[in-house]
Subunit: 121 residues, 2 copies
DNA sequence: TAGCCTACATACCATTAGTATACTATTGTT
DNA sequence: AACAATAGTATACTAATGGTATGTAGGCTA
């Protein structure tokens, strides 16, 4: 349930890729993780508008697709860290390019770009 | 109706971009158009499994977002040609990289990649 | 000890994306 | 007259995606 595009396994590389990084939040999450190891709460604060349920769901899908790893520290309060796998990291240059494109388009339309949020801690 | 992601206008470039090129078919269609001017039927034959309704819908969305242009020739039988705009063409290198990534992953998993179809004419 | 925090899980519901199938218009060909 | 070709429309439907609300565990804080 909740899997973006799980239908017929892709034979086209573009299709294959978009089945994994399409969806409303995946690009932004991967992009944010490109910055380094992040905790659940950090991601949630950086991805404006995402609900905890969606975040959990999306993170699990990315984990299932081996784009990120999830490390649980059994402390109290619990701590869960997410980081890109090699495969996931290999996507960052592509997302970088897409971001650059997006930035240019936004400028073109007079929209002010705000890459990612989150107040320091 | 049918607009993929029309919710709050993106402030993040990555979000902005994925709102335009996300969805099941957009990446593949743009990629195919990267090859040059294409007719409706050519696109339909190249994107396996797409229904005419979806294709029309997606093409209209790409047109609205100024990623492609649509040229109608009032002949019989009708002829409609689609081509990338400058903005759309600027996306091709990113899709190229994503495709390369996808290809590598597919190889890694023993899947045979089949970039795009369509028999010559 | 009553709530608060983190990091979720679960149930339920609404919206949106996508599918299936059939149909249209126009003109030339058989 | 029936059929082919192209580029779609129309209608009805299912599946995927996303959202709200609430629950849970264990320690921490007031």
């Amino acid at each position: 349930m909740g899997k973006i595009n799980q239908a017929p396994p892709a034979t086209c590389p573009v299709d294959y890729a978009f089945q994994r990084i399409g969806g409303k939040y995946k690009g932004r999450i991967l992009w944010f993780l490109g910055d380094g190891v992040k905790r659940y709460g950090q991601i949630r604060r950086s991805i404006s508008g995402i609900t905890p349920k969606m975040l959990t769901q999306v993170l699990r899908e990315l984990e299932d697709d081996r784009l990120i790893t999830r490390t649980v520290y059994y402390e109290v309060p619990p701590r869960v860290e997410y980081t890109l796998t090699e495969t996931g990291r290999a996507l960052i240059p592509s997302i970088q390019m897409i971001s650059t494109w997006g930035q240019a388009q936004m400028q073109h339309q007079g929209i002010t770009a705000m890459p990612l949020e989150e107040g320091e801690e």
